[in-house]
Amino acid sequence: MGVSIYYNMKVGGKMNFNDNIPIYIQIINSIKKDIVSSKLQIGQKILSVREMAEYYNVNPSTVQRAYQELEKSKVINVQRGLGTFITDKSEMIEEIKVDMADNLTSHFIEEMMGIGFTYNQIVENISRYARRE
């Protein structure tokens, strides 16, 4: 399974059912992506499990599973009676950003090396690409 779990994510709140990525992981990635791109702000309240299930038309227990994982890794916290919120710790946001970048980069490098590129060639490729911008 050499494909990055982020590559196949659809943008804009739609789950891709034709994917070989479980829906709860797609939900986790979608929320993380929104945090990193600032669509979701630090400390912001997000949809409840049920609201999110209705929005995506998925089983509430699937959303529950995604929320549990996110809560375990402290990306979100559930406050009884108040709702579910994105973490208010900016270090956590940074960590998510770095994690996501590492994941995308490592898979990119893996694929490039799989075709035969060396580190130097990969870096050269990126530099050349950056110069075009």
Binding site: I23, R50, N59, P60
Partner: protein, 234 residues
């Protein structure tokens, strides 16, 4: 925690024809299971066994720890493929009929779900989409343990299918168990956290959706295609 449904080594024969063979299934409450298979695969027979409409020739079926009997009938709400509503009734009369026949039928919920339809309309005048919505709403308005839907999306437009999915989610609670028998996975895929693939009366593959997808690295639809073509999987 008692499993909400257990089927153990179940066989059902119609004369010499084997309709279901060696069926092993265990569901926990809170699960929404897809019973997926083509026509003649045995889906309806399986649902009728759980409902208690027919008896297994071999094996056991238990609902919340009790063997299927007259006593467990009230624990199961069944939406059959055929139309089971009286054509001459109005929607309102059908709602009242259900209230009379079924304990724990929530009239208010049914009326709320069907608020976009004129309740004085006769069943016979409804379009296919509208009829399926009414049938679905009536079934979902029964407050019970197990819900069985036999091909509820057959011939129904995608938008209405989505509406039904939303109703299911809105009425979802962890103490209920749902089985949706279907021959196509679209629209409803996201709802299913468990899938059982049936072919020629046998369970070819079953498991939690997430685990199946993760283990096989395939989408549910890809798994379905592989399983339905003659590839035997363990």
């Amino acid at each position: 925690m008692i499993a909400s449904l257990v089927m153990h080594d179940v066989y059902k024969m119609y004369g010499k024809k084997v309709a279901l063979e060696h069926i092993e299934l265990e569901l926990e409450s809170g699960m929404i299971m897809g019973l997926v298979g083509g026509s003649q695969s045995g889906k309806t027979t399986l649902l009728e066994l759980i409902m208690g409409l027919i008896k297994a020739d071999k094996g056991s079926i238990e609902i919340a720890g009790s063997p299927v009997s007259k006593l467990t009938k009230k624990d199961v709400a069944y939406l059959p493929k055929d139309n089971h509503l009286y054509a001459w009734m109005t929607i309102k009369e059908a709602i009242h009929f259900f209230k009379k026949v079924y304990k724990n039928f929530e009239t208010q919920k049914a009326e709320e779900l069907l608020k976009d339809l004129a309740l004085e309309r006769k069943i016979a005048t409804l379009s296919h989409d509208e009829l399926m919505l009414v049938k679905f709403a009536l079934t979902v308005s029964r407050n019970t343990k197990i819900y069985l839907f036999d091909e509820p999306f057959l011939g129904v437009t995608p938008l209405v299918q989505k509406q039904m999915g939303q109703w299911l989610i809105k009425n979802y609670t962890e103490d209920k168990t749902v089985i949706i028998a279907t021959s196509n996975l679209q629209t409803v895929e996201g709802l299913l956290n468990y899938v059982t693939f049936l072919k020629d009366g046998k369970i070819i593959l079953k498991g939690e959706t997430d685990l199946l997808i993760e283990d096989r690295g395939q989408s549910l639809y890809e798994i379905y295609k592989e399983v339905v073509s003659n590839v035997r999987v363990s």
